[in-house]
Symmetry: C2
Subunit: 242 residues, 2 copies
């Protein structure tokens, strides 16, 4: 029997109309889908495709065993997640072996800080895998601000809010445009780093980019807001513009 293909399909920032034509076709035609989510949640990737799936499509929900319950630096964190990804990959490989194509729904772009990469590296040598790129969450965020992110020779630095404060501040002070992802409980630390680097007054917080509940707020007006993990901070470049 011919092996089925595992498709890692980027869904983009959240608006179904911002999915690629190819992603739209694959999702609507899928007989089997898979997606990550927290236990007890619908899952953001699954929500984006609401109303697009065939009635007979089977769904494989891959539920993270942990998210923030164990600190990143705890060795158990890696061990637990590694076993989880191995289990998920084994299940997908089995489906492929049965000749089934599976569409794995991925928020944003699969190869850009995405969870799918952990399946991809475990599957690519044992099953046919294809990746469909997508509009990144950060593109959705800077488009939402109504201002271009980079001009001319601007340097863009993409930072994770999980980095140490001094590291964030140092890199923010040494670039033209900044995107910070993975905000959530890191927001206060990120704000301090932005103040330290002189970028605070130019920073914007974008929550739920490209979704009906999208908000775009100058960071200095966010006060004590708690931002969702998948919100994005943007500082626009100021480069050459004829």
């Amino acid at each position: 029997m011919t092996q089925g293909t595992i498709f890692g399909v980027g869904l983009g920032p959240g608006d179904p109309e911002l999915m690629s034509v190819r992603a739209d076709r694959l999702v609507r035609g899928a007989r089997h889908i898979a997606f990550f989510r927290k236990p007890g949640r619908e899952g953001q990737a699954r929500r984006i495709v609401n109303g697009m799936l065939a009635e007979t499509a089977t769904e494989f929900a891959m539920e993270y065993p942990i998210t923030t319950e164990i600190p990143l630096k705890d060795p158990r964190y890696n061990a637990i997640l590694s076993a989880f990804y191995a289990d998920c990959a084994a299940h997908l490989a089995e489906m492929s072996g049965q000749g089934r194509n599976v569409v794995v729904l991925c928020e944003g772009d699969p190869f850009f800080y995405g969870s799918f990469m952990h399946l991809y590296t475990r599957l690519r040598d044992i099953a046919p895998v294809r990746v469909v790129p997508a509009i990144t969450g950060m593109s959705g965020a800077w488009t939402a601000t109504g201002t271009p992110i980079t001009w001319g020779d601007d340097v863009l630095t993409v930072l994770m809010g999980t980095l140490p404060e001094t590291e964030l501040a140092r890199r923010m002070a040494d670039t033209d445009a900044v995107v910070v992802m993975k905000i959530g409980r890191n927001l206060d630390k990120i704000k301090r780093a932005l103040r330290h680097s002189g970028l605070f007054d130019r920073a914007w917080l974008v929550e739920h980019a490209a979704m009906p509940n999208q908000t775009v707020t100058p960071l200095h007006e966010t006060e004590d807001r708690v931002a969702p993990y998948f919100s994005i901070i943007v500082v626009h470049g100021q480069g050459r513009r004829p």
Copy 2:
């Protein structure tokens, strides 16, 4: 009369199937399109939508008066381009005033180092403008390499090949993942900077990402190749991967 809307529509990296559902719909339904190109060329943006346009669609080709004939630092460069963008914007504003919607075709993502930004800033206060984000050329490039670009807390730095060599080398040596755009005649300089920063052996050159003539080559195997301006160099991050 109601003003027409100017749509800045990102087309993505080049494969028409990687256009968003919204972009696809806008392009196919357009009665008026506009696009940049070099004089005497078809234009990359225009080529991507071949076969998608209504037969009756009008086309406004905006032909760059200069590209590399005058150095960037020559003050005439800015003056000539500025007048060009002002002319194009005036023409589009006039169409909008006549109640016409115009779809401006943009390679990649309009707000990410795109020429449309120069029209956008001239139009947004005088006409309705909407921007449709898209898959960036760099997403097309890293997907083409078959390897994820960033993991865990990786820092991604996006650099223009037009920057000075020492600046390129310094920044390459101080990041996890790198994307270099605007290659062309800067290729030798970029190679030296990558060697200096120790990243040369991990660098890939992607030409014509997501197009039928796509090539993906380890940079050290490119020898004396002349790379097209819109090729992209990618160095993948090595971050945390459970």
